[in-house]
């Protein structure tokens, strides 16, 4: 019992550190029920709604009530051309920046058709802008998509490549 309590206290302390780290830049990375509550199960883009790969979805809360949500989708319903440029969605309920590029409130598609760049598209598939990604070669256990706290906001990872999302 004592051992369990000690373990529980240690867990709480670790959680506190984690929240503190995540809160740097005013962002909290969502997990568990908080995450599933905000991730849409599907996303409309260029004439089709495709299911979200829930295992490859992430979200962050800025401040108390502003969210940025991202996920990869099952693009198998799209033509080869669309699949080549589109892999997932980005939803933001406030104006943000992506590596310094402004992105107003809205829902967008994104992809990595150009090596080393992330391209953001509107829902009709029109390119809005591209930003260079940074390769985090030291990242252990990369995932197809994940977020982690960054001093300037949140890192949105695709494998070992990431862009930084910040509030405006």
């Amino acid at each position: 019992m004592k051992h369990s309590l000690k373990q529980f206290s240690l867990t709480l302390a670790l959680l506190a550190v984690a929240v503190s780290v995540a809160a740097q830049g005013g962002a909290t990375i969502l997990t568990g029920a908080e995450l599933t509550r905000v991730i849409p199960t599907g996303f409309y883009f260029q004439g089709l709604s495709a299911p979200t790969q829930m295992r490859n979805a992430a979200a962050a809360r800025f401040g108390t009530d502003r969210y940025v949500i991202s996920g990869l989708v099952d693009t198998s319903g799209y033509s080869t051309d669309v699949r080549a440029k589109y892999v997932g969605f980005l939803i933001t309920d406030s104006a943000i920046t992506l590596n310094g590029e402004s992105l107003p409130t809205g829902a967008y598609g994104f992809g990595f058709a150009t090596q080393g760049k992330m391209t953001v598209m509107d829902l009709a598939g029109k390119d809005l802008f591209s930003v260079p990604v940074t390769n985090d070669k030291d990242l252990k256990r990369p995932r197809p998509l994940m977020m982690s706290a960054d001093q300037g906001g949140v890192r949105l990872y695709n494998g070992k490549d990431y862009v930084v999302i910040a509030t405006k």
Binding site: R55, Y78, S79, A84, R141, Y157
Partner: protein
């Protein structure tokens, strides 16, 4: 030469299954080397295996269930010391509806001296369902190996009656799994001395409501049935996956479905293809790896209370080194670098490399594919059966991979790949692999629509031979004729059921030391791709003429040490009784 523009690296979100690239030649056929040594000789036509024709649907491959069959097993069903061969067959829609004769699986009894006899009818193992996989295990501990045959439809458990015949007891014992059963594995996960059975499920298919054919797909807006802009069969992505099943064997010999309770039911319904019970962390409990197509792989650690913890992501096995999901097909299990821990080699789709996971210990794995020399060379191939084997008996596990594409359309386009593909043989030079070339006109220069693969010493000469099951074609039997090979030792392990080790010793591990090399071999059911290697453990000894130490960790966790009186032969070791012959 081919241009390797971006290929796998261009893939982002989902599984790497075909990023467009431009090529000027096919790199999966016709690659020969006049200076390469002759390792394998194709002896198929000298055997009745030449009469076997695998069949799986129609040549156009309009539907996904027509493409991944089938497995092959090498096992000594009659206990005469000569390993026999079982070939799984597919089926056709017409046969499923009773409109034509169903293709038959086949069992070939090894008579010695490369003579085989087709004993399918006598044995009663023709299956005549849409077969995919075979996994061997002596589930009733009577000393006679039994077979689970995974089907699209209802699976079978062939009990070996010991008189040359088998009886399908799947319904009676509770393992007549429905759906699409793929690469199964036997293992005693709860340490009661009775084998349990894990069966991955692939895709849910409703024959009454099939996806559109490629020719009609585009017109119906089914873009997901495209590969590089060309209409192809649909799936697996876009189709519903199927969960996995763990059958626990009860004391009365019947089985119960404990998938949910054990935590291995795969609620995400990933597209399962291969599995194996293996010791990942080397405690006394068997763990489980599941290879999935187009979705993450699962690694289940046995908690010892009847449940498993899935650690695919934290262990590093779920994804490749770049965090990408891959289209996993086959699974090789072995300690390729002789560090005492089990490693995994997994085959993938074309335009992506196969993957080699090195076991770092403490349930951590590192993707070392490219460092080990297995990356670039495998990219144009669509891999299926893969197995570690020491073909030259130098004490280091080499690697054999069979390949073949799923889309016939690849032959009509210059995509750098082909429908029939050469197999790949890699020599292991102390942990680094190098492709062994194919001499012109040799078996390895041929291209096959390969699927299943099994390894075993069919002629007892100490050199490991191979059987490959090819889609819609005749199989290939490859005799190992390598000139420069070292000494060897074969081990046939027999567990003591009274000590709660299964009789066929599945889950037991042998460690053999010669000089400063300590090798490890595990008794494994399943893996490869829907296939079964001979469970006789084979150690290459190189120039060593004696075994300094032989340690067997039985599946019940006890350890025994044995003196090996002679080498260059197969010896039987019975738990608690030592070397008996």
């Amino acid at each position: 030469m081919a241009s390797l523009a971006s290929v796998a690296q261009a893939q982002t979100g989902g599984a790497s299954t075909g990023a467009p690239a431009t090529y000027t030649s096919r790199r999966t056929v016709g690659i020969t080397d006049p200076n390469a040594p002759v390792i394998f000789e194709d002896v198929t036509d000298k055997t009745p295996l030449a009469n076997f024709r695998h069949r799986s649907g129609e040549a156009a491959k309009d539907y996904i269930f027509e493409t991944p069959s089938g497995g092959v097993a090498i096992f000594d069903y009659d206990g005469d010391g000569r390993p026999d061969v079982y070939l799984v067959n597919g089926s056709t829609s017409a046969a499923m509806q009773g409109k034509e004769k169903a293709p038959r699986a086949a069992l070939y009894r090894n008579l010695g001296n490369w003579k085989f006899e087709d004993v399918t009818d006598k044995a009663g193992v023709a299956n005549e369902r849409w077969g995919f996989s075979v996994a061997v295990g002596d589930y009733n501990n009577d000393g006679r190996p039994d077979m689970f045959v995974g089907n699209f439809g209802v699976s079978r458990l062939y009990r070996n009656n010991g008189d040359g015949t088998f009886t399908d007891v799947a319904e009676k014992l509770g393992v007549a799994r429905k759906g699409w059963s793929t690469g199964a594995s036997w293992g005693d996960y709860d340490g009661d001395g009775r084998l349990d059975l894990f069966v991955p499920g692939y895709v849910q298919i409703d024959l009454a409501n099939l996806p559109p054919k490629p020719t009609g797909a585009a017109g119906q807006g089914q873009n997901f049935c495209q590969f590089r802009g060309v209409a192809v069969m649909c799936g697996p992505r876009g189709l519903p996956g199927e969960g996995d099943t763990l059958y626990h064997q009860k004391p009365d010999g019947t089985f119960e479905d404990v998938s949910v309770k054990a935590g291995v039911n795969d609620p995400e319904k990933y597209y399962g293809f291969s599995s194996a019970f293996v010791h990942v962390d080397d405690d006394k409990l068997l763990d489980l790896i599941v290879v999935n197509d187009s979705t993450p792989k699962q690694l289940y650690i046995n908690k010892g209370d009847g449940t498993f913890e899935e650690i695919g992501y934290p262990s590093g096995v779920a994804l490749n080194e770049n965090g990408r999901e891959q289209a996993g097909m086959g699974l090789a299990v072995g300690d390729y670098d002789n560090d005492g821990r089990i490693d995994f080699h997994i085959t993938n789709f074309s335009d992506d490399s196969n993957v080699l996971y090195h076991n770092d210990g403490d349930k951590n794995f590192t993707d070392v594919t490219f460092q080990a020399g297995l990356g670039e060379v495998s990219i144009p191939f669509l891999g299926w059966g893969t197995s570690f084997l020491d073909f030259d008996n130098d004490g280091w596990l080499d690697l054999f991979v069979v390949n073949g594409h799923v889309y016939p359309a690849v032959d009509a386009h210059q995509w750098g790949t082909s429908y029939a593909q050469q197999a790949l043989l890699f020599h292991n030079n102390k942990g680094k692999f190098e492709r062994v070339g194919a001499p012109p006109g040799n078996a390895l220069a041929n291209a096959w629509p390969g699927r299943g693969l099994a390894v075993g010493d069919l002629d007892g000469d100490g050199r490991l031979d191979l059987v490959i099951n090819n889609l819609d074609a005749k199989p290939v039997m490859l005799r190992n004729v390598a000139a420069a090979t070292g000494h060897w030792l074969g081990l046939h392990l027999v567990g003591d059921v009274s000590k709660k080790t299964p009789r066929d010793a599945i889950g037991s591990v042998a460690y053999l030391t010669t000089g400063n090399v300590r090798q490890r071999q595990d008794v494994v059911s399943g893996a490869v791709y829907c296939s079964q290697n001979d469970m006789t453990l084979h150690f290459g000894l190189g120039a060593a003429t004696k075994v300094e130490k032989l340690e067997v960790k039985w599946s019940n966790g006890t350890v025994e040490y044995f003196d090996v009186p002679a080498i260059d032969k197969i010896v039987t070791i019975t738990q608690g009784k030592g070397v008996v012959r």
